[in-house]
């Protein structure tokens, strides 16, 4: 009967009515926004990816090296055959794919475990040193991931790759087996320690906005802490958890450095190795195809995600009745938990930083005597006999200039990306049941899986010349901002979505009744309520941009180059100290950046 009714309603009304309905639909802020964003994303994401797709079907100049039949510019299935059906497929695609997925799952599991655990402690429990823990929990992501790998080797290296063995063997005399020293095991551990900040940031932000009464009513019914955690608290932050899972998983899927560093000695290769190698050797087409494989995987994940956070379960934790936040007392458990926490912080943050710092001040690497220490890599004057006359990085105007450049880039990109993210979040959450925003959400995620180097190559190919109204952006600062914002969109949009999910619709409705236009509603209600989680998005982007290398290397010119692009020169010269010093400088800048970001957003809102 209802069916009939609604059916009946559907076909009432003239053409005018239908036109009107369309108009009304289009008048809604979230729809307008979806459309605008869609345009932006077409420019930033869709075109590049179409280009990428196109490339895979066309003979490239380099293909003449692989096949006599190659006629550059002509259509071909050669690349697809090469990747999926050739002697290479096994070592180029399937094995690395298997390895990637295994690594991805492993890392996501442990990273989320740690991240959520810490997030809960900081946001919901009365554990001491909360501020400290909160600050420390983000550090691992600030230090370059290879540092974690390095630390691992200093501990557990065996003599498979020659050189001196690790501290573990030195102390115990036991030779660690290869599977401990190299391959998937250490990769999963080091990457987990590196990536848990994703889940920490997103989940803790979500946790802080849950009304304690929801947990209290569980406690009243006699549920234990653990049970409440499992059945109430975690499900409530499920959106955030899923987001961080997606981010962590996909990131691990795409990461190149650490897996190569720890994997290659035992020939454990992941997809990115293959992508990097293909693109580096300038037969991008195969690389792109492999990238599409990654995209495929993530699309599946996102699909699952959207099924899980379905329309009906879109829950609100910031209600209109005001909410209390009370902390779970840990009681005596404190004394068991604190050590664990500190251990995590130690191995994930303190050790790596120490190691990094130590590298930058040791005259000769791997020599742990005091007289080996030197400030020269930081403050050394140029033109001396030391280090072939290289000046310490803080005395090197070129480095300082690029440092400033990096900061500007990181700040602007993260703000730009951050706001895109919040807007997307708004559009997506408001339009849960609609197609357009869904599409938006999916698109915003694509760039994440295109490996940096590939994405850079695409932008290079596209934006060196003017397209329509857009002038040639190559060599401009803008292009760097755009590509970073685009690449980090997933961070910011996920952060956006999760933060929006928490805000009760009635809170905005109330302000609409008060006569506020959308702009005002956004500034005064939505933004303040979502900023806490959004900031975590900002910070993640800021960090990533500061550290990004592969993505921009092709797009920077002498004028627009960034700090990380400078590390290359020293690695190539074999001066680990210099490049470590730069990495450390980056870490310091990131520290300052995220600290400032936090304090700025603290003002106004109260605890």
């Amino acid at each position: 009967m209802i069916k009939e009714k609604s059916a009946g309603i559907k076909n009432t009304g003239s053409l005018r009515a239908k036109a009107g309905r369309v108009r009304n639909y289009l008048r809604q802020p979230h729809v307008i926004m979806s459309i605008l964003l869609l345009l932006i994303l077409t420019f930033l994401v869709i075109i590049p990816i179409l280009k990428m797709f196109y490339t895979t079907f066309v003979w490239q100049l380099e293909d003449t090296r692989l096949s006599r039949a190659a006629e550059p510019g002509r259509f071909t299935l050669f690349h697809w055959k090469r990747v999926f059906a050739s002697v290479l497929s096994d070592t180029m695609l399937w094995t690395p794919l298997k390895n990637s997925i295994l690594t991805g799952l492993g890392v996501s599991f442990f990273a989320l475990l740690i991240g959520i655990f810490l997030a809960w402690l900081v946001a919901r429990s009365d554990i001491p040193f909360r501020k400290l823990i909160a600050a420390a929990a983000v550090i691992p992501y600030m230090v370059p991931s290879y540092i974690h790998a390095l630390s691992w080797l200093t501990l557990f290296k065996n003599e498979r790759v020659g050189g001196v063995s690790g501290i573990f063997q030195y102390l115990t005399g036991i030779i660690p087996p290869d599977w401990v020293s190299y391959g998937i095991f250490p990769i999963i551990i080091t990457l987990s320690l590196h990536y848990f900040p994703y889940s920490f940031l997103l989940v803790s932000a979500a946790l802080t906005s849950i009304d304690s009464r929801l947990e209290e009513s569980g406690e009243i019914l006699g549920a234990t802490r653990g049970y409440i955690l499992r059945r109430i608290t975690l499900p409530l932050v499920m959106p955030a958890i899923l987001s961080s899972f997606i981010l962590t998983f996909s990131r691990t899927l795409g990461v190149f450095g650490t897996p190569y560093f720890l994997g290659s000695p035992v020939r454990f290769f992941t997809l990115p190795t293959q992508i990097y190698s293909s693109i580096n050797n300038r037969n991008s087409a195969s690389g792109f195809i492999l990238a599409f494989v990654l995209i495929g995987i993530s699309s599946i994940i996102i699909y699952i995600n959207q099924k899980t956070v379905g329309e009906r379960k879109s829950f609100v934790t910031i209600g209109g009745k005001g909410f209390v936040v009370s902390r779970t007392p840990l009681g005596k458990y404190k004394y068991y938990i604190l050590p664990v926490v500190f251990f995590i912080i130690l191995v994930s943050a303190v050790l790596p930083i120490l190691l990094l710092t130590f590298e930058t001040i040791s005259l000769y690497p791997g020599n742990y005597s005091l007289k080996n220490l030197t400030p020269l890599f930081w403050f050394g004057k140029g033109g001396t006999t030391f280090a072939e006359g290289e000046a310490g990085i803080l005395r090197n105007p070129a480095i300082l200039r690029t440092a400033w450049n990096s900061i500007r880039l990181a700040v602007i990109s993260s703000i730009f990306a951050g706001f895109l993210g919040i807007f997307i979040g708004y559009a997506v959450v408001k339009g849960r049941k609609e197609r357009l925003p869904k599409l938006l959400e999916q698109i915003s995620f694509l760039p994440y899986l295109v490996p940096g180097i590939a994405f850079g190559a695409l932008y290079l190919a596209l934006f060196t010349q003017r397209i329509g109204p857009i002038p040639a952006l190559y060599g401009t600062f803008t292009l760097l901002v755009l590509i970073n914002a685009a690449k980090e969109l997933p961070f910011s949009s996920r952060a956006g979505v999760t933060s929006m999910l928490q805000i009760g619709a009635e809170l905005e409705e109330a302000s609409e009744i008060a006569g506020a236009r959308w702009g005002k509603r956004f500034r005064k209600i939505i933004l303040p309520l979502s900023i806490k989680s959004a900031v975590s998005g900002f910070i993640l982007v800021f960090i990533t941009v500061m550290r990004e290398l592969a993505l921009v290397i092709l797009l920077v010119t002498p004028k627009t180059r960034t700090l990380t692009t400078m590390t290359f020169r020293y690695q190539e010269q074999g001066y680990a100290q210099f490049s470590s010093a730069i990495s450390l400088l980056v870490v310091i800048i990131i520290f300052a950046g995220s600290y400032i970001a936090k304090t700025i957003t603290k003002t106004g809102e109260k605890d």
Binding site: I2, K5, S6, I9, T12, G13, S14, R16, A17, K18, A19, G20, R21, V22, R23, N24, R27, I318, G319, G320, K321, G322, F323, V324, G504, E506, L507, E509, A510, S511, E512, I513, A514, G515, A516, R517, K520, K524, I525, P528, L529, E605, K606
Partner: protein, 372 residues
């Protein structure tokens, strides 16, 4: 001239029809009360008028201006409807102090800052929240939050008030005062008001008309008195008034041009009905608990009953008596020494007996009765 006009309004949530083809109109400056059981669609109606919920079908006019029309495909955004709404869940902004919460709407109106301060202070003191200006919602009690929500609406003096159970969390005393406040603000501002409540006293004392809603459609829209004394059907009769109305199914007899009813236990009661629109043999008689009086001795329109329970409740006493298989409720004011189990006589004044058609459940009409 009607200020708000609703035509064939319908709202379907998935498989639930929350509001089903509702039409009514509210005159300017008048005070319409939406009464109805929980879940009957009150909030939804209010939200559609406010423009927060898109009706599945129908038309909404305010000041003769079409705000929504599924035919014409018009839909004016809430922002431009110039009305005030108090949410059932107060919808206070947790990141703003009480002051900011109230000032928001005024700021939107670009009011001068010191005027704002004046206005906020004023509406806070209406609501007796003077010291609370700098609290955050989560630092207040339920009732205090609810009053802030009210103050927020009143501060921006809309021409149309929509209130969704604005007093549900207040104590009787405060509620009485708030009612008075609302009424005189309503008078001062000449604001048309649509008011959702489940509190009948509110309905019966404040409203200029009452719409009784059931399962998403209107059962009766009328003056409070009419609704109470001449409920158009058994649902309304039963829903309005507490304790509930007594209903007795009985057979019809007539005698010297009057309608008499005969109950199962055999007593005959005289009614005020002379003629009836229908000639069914069985009827449903109904009488309000407070109309029944307890008398010492037998007589016309009386029956012997046995006291079952006596519930003293402040100013009044509710007495349950068993009459045959049925239990009748009686509401008395003066306290009377009555012992449970005691046998007494009850008297049903002929003018207070209402007759309903057992099939259609509709009130039966009788010119005489209607005159009074």
């Amino acid at each position: 001239m009607s200020f708000v006009e609703i035509k064939n309004l319908t709202k379907v949530f998935g498989s639930v029809t929350a509001v089903d083809d509702v039409s009514f109109s509210v005159d300017e400056k008048s005070f319409l009360m939406l009464l109805g059981p929980s879940g009957c669609g009150k909030t939804t109606i209010l939200r559609m008028i406010a423009g927060l919920e898109t009706p599945t079908a129908g038309e909404i006019r305010i000041r003769d201006k079409i705000m929504f029309s599924s035919e014409k495909g018009i839909s004016v955004p809430a922002r431009e409807r110039e009305l005030g709404l108090v949410f059932q869940s107060y919808a206070l902004w947790p990141h703003m102090t009480v002051f900011e919460n109230i000032a928001f709407g005024l700021r939107v109106k670009k009011m001068k800052e010191d005027d704002i301060i004046k206005k906020v202070k004023e509406s806070l003191s209406y609501m007796q929240l003077d010291e609370m200006a700098n609290r955050y919602p989560q630092e207040m009690s339920g009732g205090q939050q609810q009053r802030v929500a009210l103050a927020r609406m009143l501060a921006s003096e809309p021409a149309l008030f929509l209130m969704d159970e604005p007093l549900s969390n207040l104590d009787a005393k405060l509620r009485v005062e708030m009612r008075a406040e609302i009424k005189n603000i309503h008078a001062q501002l000449d604001a048309t008001t649509i008011y959702v409540t489940h509190d009948q006293v509110e309905g019966l004392t404040m409203a200029s008309s009452i719409a009784v809603i059931n399962k998403g459609s209107i059962e009766q829209l009328d003056h409070p008195k009419k609704v109470y004394h001449y409920p158009s059907n058994l649902f309304v009769a039963d829903f309005i008034g507490s304790p509930q109305i007594n209903t007795i199914s009985c057979s019809r007899e007539s005698d010297d041009g009057r309608i008499y009813i005969k109950t199962e236990t055999g007593e005959r009661f005289k009614t005020s009905y002379k003629s009836l629109s229908l000639d069914a043999q069985t009827l449903t008689a109904a009488i309000r608990p407070e109309k029944i009086s307890i008398v010492k001795s037998d007589g016309d329109n009386t029956a012997k009953v046995k006291i079952k329970t006596v519930l003293p409740a402040g100013s009044e006493t509710i007495i349950h008596v068993s009459y045959g298989k049925k239990v009748l409720k009686i509401l008395m004011q003066k306290e009377q020494e009555l012992n449970v189990g005691e046998e007494v006589f009850i008297h049903l004044p002929e003018n207070d007996i209402l007759l309903f058609d057992p099939e259609t459940k509709k009130l039966l009409h009788n010119l005489q009765a209607l005159k009074t």
